[in-house]
């Protein structure tokens, strides 16, 4: 069953066309890693999927919602599709627990007590039960990113987007965050993961998409893409990062 369906997606900032016509189909439970050089449009693609950026042309259908349809309630769609950012974007004026409880309580999905119980369960899942009352400023980068993941999961999405979730981390903290993503994959979460961690992509991805210059150059299973890249651009890119 298709969870995300992208056809002919174009996105321009002024005269600068950043996405030049993309088609992507993602089925339930699939884990797709997106790789590509800097500036190729990976982040922009993710931001079009939850409409943090407006689409210039084409259609995006997420969980059956057509994002170009003006009658679609974007706030509702966004509860189906969580997003984790490179720089965490935790709310600095709230404790860890308050960060996680904010959306469920404001959206009236859960009572305060239930939201608290859920938040504590999520914290346990990302291994941070002891940090419930800490402020973001008191956490390490890896801990912050795990809290951010727990915060996204709190509204119970069935798709997760990760935009270079480990790029801002010190090397020794990358592993703990990747482990959480790995666990989510094992639980069957549908995910699009933009990453520079090729080893991780090879291990976890069902499919790898290589982007360059606003286009999808090549896609395939990790074995295909890493083992036998077809395009010169792909070979060139992989030779530099592997």
């Amino acid at each position: 069953m298709s969870k995300i369906s992208v056809t002919g997606l174009r996105k321009s900032f002024g005269y600068n066309e950043v996405l030049k016509g993309l088609d992507v189909e993602i089925t339930e439970g699939e884990v797709v890693c997106v790789i590509g050089p800097s500036g190729s449009g990976k982040s922009t693609l993710l931001r079009c999927l939850n409409k943090l950026d407006e689409l210039s042309a084409g259609t995006v259908i997420v969980d059956g919602f057509n994002l170009s349809d003006k009658t679609v309630d974007l706030n509702e769609v966004r509860q189906h599709i969580g997003m984790v950012f490179q720089h965490f974007n935790l709310f600095p004026h709230m404790t860890v627990l308050q960060n996680i409880m904010l959306a469920p309580t404001e959206l009236k999905k859960e009572s305060k007590a239930d939201a608290r119980a859920t938040a504590l369960k999520l914290l346990d899942r990302v291994g941070l039960s002891d940090k419930a009352d800490a402020r973001p400023a008191q956490l390490s980068g890896g801990q912050k990113q795990r809290v951010a993941i727990a915060r996204s999961l709190a509204v119970n999405p069935d798709i997760m987007l990760f935009d270079e979730a480990t790029s801002a981390l010190d090397p020794e903290m990358v592993g703990e965050v990747l482990q959480v993503i790995r666990d989510l994959a094992a639980e069957g979460m549908t995910m699009i993961v933009v990453t520079h961690e090729m080893g991780f992509a090879r291990e976890v991805a069902d499919r790898v998409i290589f982007m360059a210059d606003g286009l999808i150059v090549e896609e395939g299973t990790p074995a295909e893409l890493f083992g036998n890249p077809q395009h010169e651009r792909t070979q060139d890119f992989l030779s530099k990062v592997l």
């Binding site: 966004r78 974007n89 004026h93 959306a103 915060r151 996204s152």
Partner: protein
Amino acid sequence: MFRAGKLTVAVTALLALAGGFLGVSAAAANPSQAAVTGENYVIGTDTTFAPFEYREDGELTGIDMDLVRDIAANQGFTVEIKSLGFDAALQALQSNQVDGVIAGMSITDERELIFDFSDPYFDSGVQMAVAEDNTEITGYAGLAGETVVAKRGSEGETFANSIKDEYDFTVKALADSATMYDDVKAGNSVAVFDDYPVLAYGINQNNGLKSVTEKEQGSSYGFAVNKGQNPELLAAFNTGLAELKDNGDYQTILDTYLEQPAPAAASGFFGLLSDSMPALMKGLGLTLLATGLSILIALVLGVLFGFFTVSESRILRGIASVYVSIFRGTPLLVQAFFFYFGLPQLSGQSIDVLTAGVLTLSLNAGAYMTEIVRGGIQSVDPGQTEAGRSLGLGYVTTMRRVVLPQAVKIMTPSFINQFVMTLKDTSLLAVIGFAELTYQGQQIYAANFRTGETLLIVAALYFIVINLLTMLSNKLDKRFNK
């Protein structure tokens, strides 16, 4: 001008005579008196033009004040005196903010074009004075190459200008007598041209000057109403004046102020402090009231227009930017004059000085608050909004729970700063006659000529209050914006 003055004096004398013959019963039957009986009139006057109007222990007193009150009592009406300053009183009369003006005002042809004058109640004249220790200047001839001061728009200025070419001096205009006397004592000007009763009174009060010329024959003072307005008030004033002249009350009033006995020795600094405190405290209260009201309204305006500046609607952003540029792009003083004098003239709706003052300050501070709010919201990392929105929270919820709590923390020091600025800006409202702290200080030194000491006390009061409030605000900031 002089001939006209003599004519009116003659008319006054005739009227007085008639009043005397006809007696009380005739006066009671006077239609003008019937028209004013029980009425309350608002009378504008100068801030300080001793001995015509000045404050003693916080109460307005002087020849004009005694005269207008006695005439009111005599004619059966009541008056509410507004001490506005000379220029301000005339503007207030033109915009019908007051019913009449008595301010030691000479009857001139120009003024008669826009006002209706009563019979003259005092014959004045211009006299020149120099610093007490000045032995060089003994007449107009000594003024060559020098600068003299005169009161803006007064008889003194007209006279000085009329002889300045002949004697080769420059005339500088200032707004009130106390400032002019200080200017001469400080040596910025060598001489002052002022109305003789004022000058005589000041010298008698040890203001450090001495007169060196005879009084020039001048015009006469009259009570004025706006052209064509309040004819019954004017008639009642004339009738009352005639009766006071007749019963001797008029002469008693003049003697009280002009035959002043030698003044009591000046009290020390602490005497001044304790004497001036009641008036200054009243002024401080009004300063705080105007500041408090203005800041509250400015806060509402700032939040409203601040949200406009970050909104997605081009129209709302346009409205906010027009508002901000108007109020940041014009001087506060011009805004104050506009709201107090200009607006009533345009709308025909009079406005009281507190309302005009608060309107000015709140709209002005609101423009700065708008910028503070805009800056605060924009300084919050856009990633915060994106995180909120990506969780499915709406724009308003994201603002309220995520952006604003962080923005407020950033904005608080600027808010406190604006609060202090607005408090200080209230002092500018003295020019429209709002009786706040600075105004009260001006009143005090205009009467006692102790400018330096009085201003020190006023400044100290501002300093203490501002620093106390700043400390309090910072404490609250620390407490709530941890």
